[in-house]
């Protein structure tokens, strides 16, 4: 029981990631694929953020030494969560936003050419054009 509760975040992230992954591969609508991609990437963000957490800690804005009178006071590391995964995810979020933007641009291009976003319909149009 301890085993399941203790890693609660990781179990949730696995479920989310599997949902997203499935949608990315199996759905035939292109926008649904993108939604799956977003879920997938969000799951990764959840995973990274979970790595950095410490029980009972707060955001990593250092209080000791920030106010003039308390300079040279030793910083209690356990009081602040790990900033590094947050930094990585800040970068990863931007990357994901960019990927999403590019993917939407591609979807608009596809829609201009085929007037549909269902993959099987697009493939059918392609096939009928080749046979002409």
């Amino acid at each position: 029981m301890e085993f399941i509760i203790g890693k609660f975040n990781y179990w949730i992230y696995i479920v989310l990631m599997m949902i997203g992954f499935y949608a990315m591969i199996a759905k035939s609508n292109l926008v649904k694929k993108l939604v799956g991609m977003n879920i997938f990437q969000t799951a990764i963000i959840l995973f990274f953020i979970s790595i950095g957490s410490k029980k009972g800690a707060t955001i990593p804005i250092i209080q000791e030494g920030a106010t003039g009178d308390a300079v040279n006071q030793a910083v209690n590391v356990a009081r602040y969560i790990n900033p590094l995964p947050h930094v990585l995810m800040l970068t990863a979020i931007v990357v994901m936003v960019s990927t999403f933007g590019v993917a939407m641009a591609l979807i608009i291009m596809i829609f201009r050419k085929y007037k549909t976003l269902e993959e099987d319909e697009i493939l059918e149009i392609m096939r009928s054009e080749e046979n002409k």
């Binding site: 920030a66 979020i93 939407m104």
Partner: protein
């Protein structure tokens, strides 16, 4: 695809809202040293204020405030600021992005020079993010077929 949609209430409220939003965005960028925030977050908010403009009025109106050319220049200006700060460090014979060396040209300690370097970088990130958010939004929303505002 976004046509003009005249509604006095929406247009007035967004006129009122946009300046505080932009001010808040600047605060988020500038106060990133002491509170949650920073270039990307502030840039997004700043971009959102322009996007609100587009939604409340239309693309032409928003382009009168910021033409596509200016937007493109901004999007590369931000990254040039960022990489330029790094190049300044190179010229001052330190490694790339080593802001500590900036204390040679400014009367501050090394740690403060680093804080200033961080600030400059955040401003660069903010400018690029703002410009790119607007440009992505305009192109996606109109399918790339928006016209230049006539001057």
């Amino acid at each position: 695809m976004i046509g003009r949609f005249d509604n006095v209430i929406i247009q007035t409220i967004s006129r009122l809202l946009i300046p505080p939003i932009q001010l808040f965005a600047l605060y988020v960028i500038a106060h990133g040293h002491y509170s949650p925030g920073g270039g990307f977050q502030g840039g997004c908010i700043l971009g959102a204020s322009f996007i609100l403009m587009v939604i409340a009025y239309d693309i032409k109106e928003a382009k009168r405030m910021m033409s596509e050319k200016v937007n493109t220049i901004f999007s590369s200006l931000g990254v040039i600021i960022y990489s330029g700060i790094g190049v300044v460090c190179l010229i001052l014979s330190a490694n790339y992005l080593d802001y500590g060396i900036l204390n040679k040209i400014m009367p501050v300690t090394i740690a403060e020079a680093r804080a200033l370097g961080i600030f400059g970088v955040e401003v660069g990130v903010g400018i690029t993010v703002m410009a790119v958010m607007v440009s992505i939004f305009l192109n996606l929303a109109s399918g790339g077929e928006h016209e230049e505002a006539e001057e």
